[in-house]
């Protein structure tokens, strides 16, 4: 299976472990990732706040490339995903306004969880699991941008997404139920309003702990970096220890597949996941 791949800037920099683990997982599952040729910025976080026109044009160009490539498109970054979904909707209704030439509109845009949570891939995932992550309890945290607004994201169950729960269960993890799957972590204010982050992310840590989770799992690079990098500071302010590693779902999938490269990803985490994994007998192999 071949699929177009739009990594966006995050996965080329800050979230390189997401990129690497995603590539590792795809390789294991015989999914061929074809990075979009000459892709450009999706416009998230700045363009779409300041210029309505640019907010569509930037992602539209990427969609036009993907459209020509013909395959479905996998976008691991939630912000990119949302921007390109917007553009796709616009292009489907009025392509001539945005691009030269036709727009076939046959490309389905997938975010990571929804991409893997399909019967054929789930079957191969189940078959590929070598080290079920038994005993590791976590919560699936989807964040907001891959789900809302549903008329753009086409999320099947935006208030209670389940795709990551399925994935984590398939690799043997204990997925704890909680009500905060899509509550905002505040990532977009991480630089401007740390006080808001302290409240929003802090509440998430509290809820995760209350739910009996030992870690959080996400497929959004903004959420991951926000929850990971701000955790110590929130702990200090709240006078408590959460010690909740924040994983990318693909990292854990690769771990369960017995991938030997995980250790280098753990090094990029602020909250060191190794002690937790070691306590579950999941860190010794590499």
């Amino acid at each position: 299976m071949a699929v177009s791949y739009y990594p966006g800037c995050s996965l080329h920099a800050m979230a390189s472990e997401y990129d690497e683990s995603l590539r590792a997982v795809c390789e294991a599952l015989d999914v061929e990732l074809a990075e979009l040729a000459d892709w450009n910025c999706c416009g998230a976080s700045s363009a779409h706040f300041v210029d309505d026109e640019l907010a569509i044009r930037l992602p539209a160009r990427n969609m036009a490339i993907a459209d020509r490539a013909g395959n479905d498109l996998l976008i691991p970054c939630s912000a990119c995903f949302l921007r390109l979904k917007y553009a796709d909707k616009e292009l489907r209704s009025d392509p001539a306004r945005w691009i030269d030439g036709p727009y076939r509109g046959e490309t389905t845009i997938y975010h990571v969880n929804e991409f893997f949570d399909r019967p054929a891939l789930m079957a191969s995932i189940a078959a590929r699991v070598e080290r079920p992550l038994a005993g590791l309890a976590g919560v699936a945290y989807y964040g907001c941008m891959s789900q809302r607004p549903p008329k753009i994201t086409d999320a099947p169950s935006p208030e209670n997404p389940v795709s990551m729960d399925h994935l984590l269960r398939a690799i043997g993890m204990e997925v704890r139920p909680w009500s905060y799957k899509t509550d905002c972590c505040g990532a977009s204010l991480t630089l401007t309003r740390p006080d808001v982050i302290h409240k929003l992310s802090g509440d998430l840590f509290e809820a995760a702990r209350e739910a009996g989770a030992e870690c959080l799992v996400t497929d959004c690079p903004m959420c991951q970096s926000n929850l990971d990098t701000r955790q110590a500071e929130i702990e200090a302010r709240r006078g408590t220890r959460y010690d909740l590693p924040v994983f990318y779902v693909t990292e854990l999938m690769a771990l369960s597949f017995g991938d030997g490269r995980t250790a280098r990803w753990w090094k990029k985490h602020f909250v060191d996941p190794v002690p937790l994994l070691r306590s579950k007998g999941l860190a010794g192999a590499e």
């Binding site: 935006p158 208030e159 209670n160 139920p177 009500s179 809820a207 739910a211 009996g212």
Partner: protein, 1504 residues
Amino acid sequence: MAETRQVTNGKVGAVLVVGAGIGGMQAALDLANAGFHVTLVEETTAIGGRMAQLDKTFPTNDCSMCTISPKLIEVDKHLNVDVVTGADVVGAEGEAGDFRVKVLKRPRFVDLDKCNACGDCIEKCPVAVPSEFDEGTMDRKAIFKRYPQAIPGSMAISKADRPPCVLSCPAHVNCQGYIALIGERKFAEAYALIRERNPFPAACGRICHHPCESQCNRRELDEAVAVNPLKRFVADWVAQRRAAGDDPAPPPVGEIDPSKPRVAVIGGGPAGLTAARDLALRGYPVTLFEAHDKLGGAMRLGVPGYRLPDAMLDRDIADVLAAGFEVKTGKALGRDFTLDGLKEEGYRAAFLSIGCTRPAPLARSTDGSEMRGIDLEGVLPGLDFLRDVKLGKAPGLRGKTVVIGGGNVAIDVAMTAKRQGADSVEIVCLESRDAMPAHAWEIRDAEEEGIVLNPGWGPKEILGTGGKATGITLQRCVRVFDDQGRFAPEFSGEVSETAADRVIIAIGQRSDFSFLAAADPLWDESKRFIRADRRTLQTNVDWIFAGGDMATGPASVVEAVAHGHEAAESIDRFLRGEDLAAGRPTWDATPAPAPAREFPLKDRAVPERLPLDRRAGFAEIEQTLDEESAVAEARRCLACGICSECGQCVAACGAGAIVHDMLPEEVTLEVGSIVLAPGFQPFDPLQRGEYGYGRCQNVVTSLEFERILSASGPYQGHVLRPSDRNEPKRVAWIQCVGSRDAQTGNEYCSGVCCMYAVKEAIMAVDHVPGLEATIFYNDLRAYGKGFEAYYEGAKTKYGVRFHRGIISAVKERQQTKNLVLAYVADDGEATEEEFDLVVLSVGLRPSASTARLAETLGVAVDRFGFCRTDALAPSRTSREGIFVAGAFAAPMDIPETVMTASGAAAMAGELLHEARGTRIREKSYPEERDVGGEPPRVGVFVCRCGTNIARTVEVGDVVEYAQSLPNVVYAEENLYTCSTDTQTRITRTILEHHLNRVVVASCTPRTHEPLFQETLREAGLNKHLFEMANIRDQCSWVHFNQPEQATSKAKDLVRMAVARAATLRPFQDVLLDVDQRAIVLGAGLAGLTAAVSLAEQGFDVSLLERDAEPGGIARQIRHTLQGPDPRQHLEELIRRVDESPRVKLYTGATLDDFSGHVGKFKATIRQGDRITEVGGGAVVVATGGAPYEPQEYGYGQSDRVITQLELEARLADPGFAEGLREVVMIQCVGSREPERPYCSRVCCQEAVKNSLAIKQANPDARVFVLFRDVRTYGFDELHYQRAREAGVIFLRFEPESKPVVEFAGGLTVRVVDDVLRRPVELRPDLVVLSAAIRPDPQAEAVSHALKVPLNADGFFLEAHMKLRPLDFPTDGIFLAGLAHAPKSMAESISQALGAAARAATVLSKPVMYRSGVISEVDPAHCAACLTCVRLCPYDVPTVGENGVAYIEPASCQGCGVCAAACPRKAIVTRHYRDDQMIAKVDVLFGDVRFEAACPAVAQAGGKQ
């Protein structure tokens, strides 16, 4: 009244009512009582609808079930209402007055006429599914009664399509059925059920390839149910019991009929044994021939002992042999006997099932040449090897064994070779590992034991030295099958070699056809096979049938079993000369999907396996599940087919009422009109995911909470929360879930949720003292009659907290499962609060089946799916002759549903009045026998009620005891006394034994007394000579664990009943002449509408109006919010009254005097000096209301402060609105105030209407509406939304800080805005007051004249706020319009029509019967003390000129209050005379000197 067919103008005097909720039932009863035949079609299995699901009803807190249940019985017993449940309307042709409607009755699988509702089947049924009636809060069985009081009381069975396990099983063993039974620990029953279709439970439980599991729907969830291990478990369980000397499942034994034709079965494998058994069970003399010494075929000789020990097979075969057929072992076809010989011996049919016993030879090398080395020592066929091992003849092995072949046999051979001593075993096969024909689990077993797989190779040559095999040359196989799927292996050049001391070839097997001569007619054209018909298994030779492996090639045991069954069926048909193929069941149906609901994940039970180090010899590898694991595993079954057809109900039913093969039935009904009352379905809260419904256990819907409150609900009426069954202490209601909600497209207000939430909160507090109830709401819409007071009471008496504001999300705490709600507190701060339970007040919407109904009938619906109607013709649909009632028209509560139902009945009555009485059924009875002077001869019938009574009460003892009682001349017991055949029996017994009193000891008179009274009438006895003893509900059910005492109590109850029976006296119902005309008081909108409708229904009407002109307050209404012109409508009504020859309008008329009773009222009218007397059998009170003249806000001080009605008048001038700059409207002026504590209901709509009118004429005008709650219920919410969109500004104020209107310095309105929390100053040019509606000033006078009551607010009080909203306690007098309470024009019209329909039930016949159970005064004893006059709740007794009390028989309700209170005992209530009651007490207490204890009673008793 035998009305003959009259001129009907081609109209049919019958009506179809669709939907049997409270609306449908009311419409049906009104129509049937007005002379029309009614068919009441209901989608579910019982009538009662949503109301039956409710716990209590607002605002009276009456028990919903208690209120509705008499209605259910009335519908059930009505001679002219046919109830059709489980049915849908699927088509309607024709036109108004003459429709032909197709109704599809879905099978109930229970015969309604035979089922006596004893419920014995329910206990036996092993399948539980969520109860629809209980909204899934508890389970019911697959055979069920929708709810305990359901009508019809008969059970019904739910079935989906057949489950995939049953469909995929070649023998169609009822997997779901036996799994369900295992889940209920009914192991013997499970075993018997398996054995019906599979005679080898122990063997198949071990070796079946179980296609059932690979199709199991549970795989979608986690893993397939372990069907096969469960089968093995029950087989072994039964074996254990048998070993202990107890046989819980004795095998079926055939009754062989020697006169039947003889049948030969050749081959004692699974197919042959199955066929022989089936035929023996059908009575045929069967002989089975087997070539070997022992039976079992491939099961015995082809399956290694570590998979199937011989002892297990022997058990199964012993059961099969019990069927009773002859067995001849050691007899091989062709060797010891021939088919021709059998024929000569007299066998008339033969079943050939000789299996595939010849190994396929390895004939060719991979290069296509003849295989080399095949004859070397050490090369042997796999099948022979396995057989020899089984027979103890196989050689021990040493060194390395290579097995050629990739199928099951190859694996068996390899693992057996290991057990025979081979040091190493290798399997070589052509296929790749994934494509090997052996099952994956078999391959895994082999690998586990260290057997080496070498797939993808073909044998080129077997190598050897000295005549002994030493190895094999192999060639790489690249493809096994060609594109057409034919076996055509292709090889590459790659070659390898493997050493081998033994080579065992297991590449297939064939049948041994050596018994056939070359020219035998049995051969097919190829001369290689015997061809048998796939369906019937008949061969070329008609009397010979062939099946099992010889027909299919090597296959599985269960397929052979399937063939055995089919062969037996075919042979049976053949011998009876029937068509072999016709009507045989097909099994290629679509399997049922997994039930669409959540199931918890649960691991599959895995049987223990023998550890590798203990696998020496042929000990079984896989073990049997233990009992607990088996039961737990069985409970993983999703019961996809719902009913499993396990047959337990059939066995339990004493009445033979279960019909599993019942088919759907379509009927065509001829009706003149159709009334649609399909009701609503609650909004599905999964659409509002943020509330966590479906995820958080303690988030429930309001309807689920009704069930939680209900005594018949999941917690028997204790308020508990689902997660931990603890009492919740903090409960929140979230309003408007799926209402007023643009996101889900339900923008309308559901109208009822505020009130039911208030009620639920009150009931919750009532159930759990100290419970804190909080209602989060938008606007609290307590707009109905009595609602505002109820709402206030919730706050003040029950401490219910009301918080304005809608919750955005519900979060669950994982440790406690408590729920966290975030909201803005009164101080404006964001607040989080934790609750134990959250109730979602879900809205109302039409169901999917209602959408289909509307489409089928061509009835237009609006964008929400509600029936499209006109605001001023609220019952009319878009198709003429079809009318609508209840919540399909708009969201509405119970009384409004009842009113609209009566209204729809009136419309149908208008349409069909010419055909009234033409389709009704009447019953005639034999003349009543005069029993006066006869000594009492009592017959007693004691019911067993299946086992309901009999299992607790010794019924035989009770009968014997009854026979010993005085006056009893006959007593018997019945299985079901209520069954139709018992009624015939009772009738016969009455005649034979000359009985003059009958006692039935059974269930409750509430449902069954009318039935038995009917039987008495049919036997020529007066129906009052009947008495009932309730020995079920009040005895066997409540004392189920005290059988002795229960029996003794049953005797007491029977003794009491017999004693009273002896005192019973015959009397007749009261016959009244009916004056078939009506009197309508008031000619406003309601009165005019009622009068016109009554005239259209064919009745003369006297219409009285106080004013000089008809029209009333409606004259002041100039436009409606919905569009239609009210003035035009009113003029049209007045014109119709003027032109109607049937209506006589008296204007300027006052009521001087009023008298009479139902059927005959008289009113004296004064018009100036003119006095007129008018008569009628029924009266409609439509005397209207009046606008309140405000005292507040400076009304009257300035012409710039006016009322909404005055504004409406001014707006008639188109220029008026254009001149307005700013308008302030103030709501609740005179309403919701201490002196008028009710909501005037229409003022919010008025304000919205007039605001919109202003905005439309002058968009720049600013309009402010100062309100407390905006109560635009139902679709008026859409207009409220429109007003906001148009820029009308709504500001909320608290009653404590009302707006202030000041005139000094220009008109100023000051108000504290609730949202901004700061004062606002407005400077309008006009202040408009939404003034209350108050009762008509003369209501009190009318109330006195008619002796009908008013409520505390001064409006007329109906007989019952829920179910009799249009009736007065006094029969024959009805109520409509503002006289009842404030309401809109549409509601007045609907009510007026309803009142007309209610009146028509009285007027439709020239005579009427009323119950003869009434009170009578003995004038000789009456002291005229007026006690009865004061106490009668119906104001019936009067003291007339002769100085004694008189009770009008036509008016008396027979309640007995007067008789109980009369100090002189001058009043008796028929049928409940003192002697009749004391007789019971006397015999209950035996010789206790009752007289001494209570001389007054003794005296009275003695007198009678």
